[in-house]
């Protein structure tokens, strides 16, 4: 077996009386698209926070590409090839779409203690940025200010920025959040196109997306991992159905919305 690109073991995080993460263990193989699902409050966002380095776990380790990165700050993890998108769109609204991606390219083009040449005219930054924009289908929006893009386009821009850092692993925190059906479909097609080229950890509420895309799925409830397996195995898992979805069939979007509301 190949060594996992991301190997998370026994992650604990407590906020006051709330155990947001309770012994979370999961692993991603290179090129795998691994989805994490669970009702609201299951600890998915806390998990992401610990993976990217914004939250320090109480216990447990995070290994990335064979190295222990548990104690590294966010920027050092990003520099090692761990890119993320944010659940709530996080861009530079005053910059153009191209400017946003150019910054992402710049992050991985050596240090930025360069004081003289105008960055806006550096082909070394602009050309890869255009490529990344084209990859997500935003080539014709390059000159538009990020703040003026439609919501769906902003989410696509997030992906372009993550891609521009040439990551080994993409952490996508609800990439279809707040999207309409059409925008969602476009995003799912985009992710399907990326699948296999880069490992992806996908946190997502849209079950259609999850079951269409994922190689494996991890289910979290109350901070614990209750099951990990292929979509087929997860669908058939009695514990998942009981704890997370009642006894209804998985894979239909209406009941998932319902499950969200039932969850604490």
């Amino acid at each position: 077996m190949t060594e996992p690109i991301l190997d998370v073991r026994g992650l604990d995080k407590t906020f006051g009386a709330v155990r947001a993460c309770d012994g979370v263990t999961l692993a991603l193989d290179p090129g795998e698209l691994h989805a994490v699902i669970g009702p609201n409050g299951a600890g998915k966002t806390t998990l992401i926070g610990q993976l990217v380095g914004e939250i320090t776990p109480d216990a447990g380790t995070v290994r990335f590409r064979g190295q222990d990165i548990t104690g590294l700050p966010a920027h050092a993890r990003a520099a090692r090839g761990l890119a993320r998108s944010f659940q709530i769109t996080s861009l530079f609204p005053r910059l153009t779409a191209l400017g946003n991606v150019a910054l992402a390219v710049q992050a991985h083009a050596g240090h930025s203690f360069r004081f003289w040449r105008p960055a806006a005219r550096e082909a070394a930054l602009i050309d890869p940025a255009r490529t990344a924009l084209a990859q997500v289908g935003l080539a014709d929006r390059a000159g538009t200010r990020a703040g003026a893009l439609a919501h769906g386009e902003q989410r696509q821009l997030e992906i372009a920025m993550a891609l521009a850092t040439e990551p080994r692993l993409l952490l996508l925190d609800e990439p279809t959040a707040g999207m309409g059906i059409e925008e969602s479909a476009r995003m799912i097609a985009l992710l399907a196109g990326l699948k296999g080229r880069v490992a992806i950890l996908l946190v997502e509420h849209d079950m259609d997306a999850v079951f269409a895309l994922a190689d494996r799925i991890t289910v979290m409830v109350y901070g614990r991992v209750i099951a990990t397996g292929t979509p087929r195995e997860i669908r058939a898992d009695a514990q998942v159905r009981r704890a997370y979805l009642g006894d209804e069939e998985i894979g239909d979007e209406e009941e998932i919305r319902g499950a969200d509301e039932v969850a604490p």
Binding site: S90, L91, Q106, S112, L125
Partner: protein, 330 residues
């Protein structure tokens, strides 16, 4: 284009000012103008971290005052013939601008590096408070420095020497300050558009995102803070030469506030804003203080109006959306 016309007009006025002052008999105008340019330089230095970096430093006078003291202390040792340091080697004072001014920048820059290294661990309101606290510590340090005048300050016997220039001549000193300001403006325009400038603007707009992209944001903020401190030190060296006197009041928190007002009035995050701010602020002070010593009664409401109605300051009225504001790229 309005922007170009205003800039050319300002440059022409700046170059012709000594001649105009001589013609109209308002000779003291050269001194006022020099002071304005020096405050513009101090404002430019603060704007680098405030406007472009989003760091609200309320202790900028510390670097300004330190630069002034470096020049004054070196000058005192030179004029008294007392060495500055006797061990391990003897180093005397100097009145040479070529040595004293870069040294003022270096000392202020290093001081900013040290203060920034600690202050930048915090953010927001804490950052404002901690920079203020450091500046006040330095203020009291100079108050207690009896060897250099303590509370009373320190007079400077003569302005710095600078090759063929005679800086005791107000007009020559004015042109030197103007030249330095133009050089700093040009350098800053390059810096703001460079990778470093783009990084700084990114940190200002969304620091968390920058870290997620892989930028070690602390380092870039600290570098900007140190550069800003060094430039403030240069402004301090110039003001010491102009007034031929330094005192702890140069490091007072009120002075830090004045530099902040210059930047906010002129336009945060705009290249020429601090220049416009310094012109407006110091001219108003000049005019209003002849009426009443409570000139802040007028200045205060004016500042409120600018902040409410011209969010990009006075320069924002000239320039609607500046290309140098957000490090934007096409």
């Amino acid at each position: 284009m309005a922007r170009r016309a205003v800039l050319l007009g300002a440059l022409a006025l700046g170059l012709a000012l000594p001649a105009l002052a001589a013609l109209t008999g308002l000779d003291y105008g050269v001194g006022v103008a020099t002071r304005i340019l020096i405050f513009a330089l101090a404002g430019l230095s603060l704007n680098l971290i405030l406007g472009y970096g989003g760091m609200v430093s309320f202790g900028h006078a510390a670097f300004f005052g330190t630069g002034a003291y470096v020049v004054a202390i070196l000058s005192q040792h030179a004029s008294l013939g007392e060495p500055l340091v006797t061990w391990p080697i003897e180093i005397g004072g100097t009145e040479s601008a070529l040595i004293a001014w870069p040294l003022a920048m270096a000392v202020a820059g290093l001081l900013a590096l040290a203060i920034g290294a600690i202050s930048l661990r915090t953010g927001g309101l804490y950052f404002i408070m901690i920079t203020l606290a450091f500046a006040q510590m330095l203020y009291f340090f100079f108050v207690s420095l009896e060897a250099y005048g303590g509370d009373d300050g320190l007079s400077i016997w003569a302005r710095s020497t600078a090759g063929p220039l005679d800086l005791s001549d107000d007009v020559q000193f004015y042109y030197l300050v103007l030249a330095l300001l133009l050089i700093v403006l040009a350098l800053k325009a390059r810096l703001v558009a460079s990778r470093f400038g783009a990084t700084l603007a990114g940190i200002r707009d969304n620091e968390r995102r920058m870290a997620a992209l892989g930028f070690p944001t602390y380092r870039y903020k600290l570098a900007a803070f140190a550069i800003s401190g060094a430039l403030a030190g240069l402004a301090g060296a110039l003001i010491a030469n102009q007034t031929e006197f330094v005192s702890p009041s140069f490091l007072d928190w009120q002075r830090s506030g004045e530099i902040l007002v210059v930047v906010i009035l002129g336009g945060m995050g705009t290249l020429y804003g601090p220049v416009a701010g310094a012109v407006a602020y110091l001219l108003l002070e000049e005019v209003l203080s002849q009426w009443t010593q409570h000139w802040m009664v007028v200045m205060g409401p004016l500042l409120v109006l600018v902040v409410i109605f011209a969010r990009r300051g006075l320069w924002g009225l000239v320039e609607r959306e500046s290309p140098d504001g957000g490090g934007s790229r096409d």
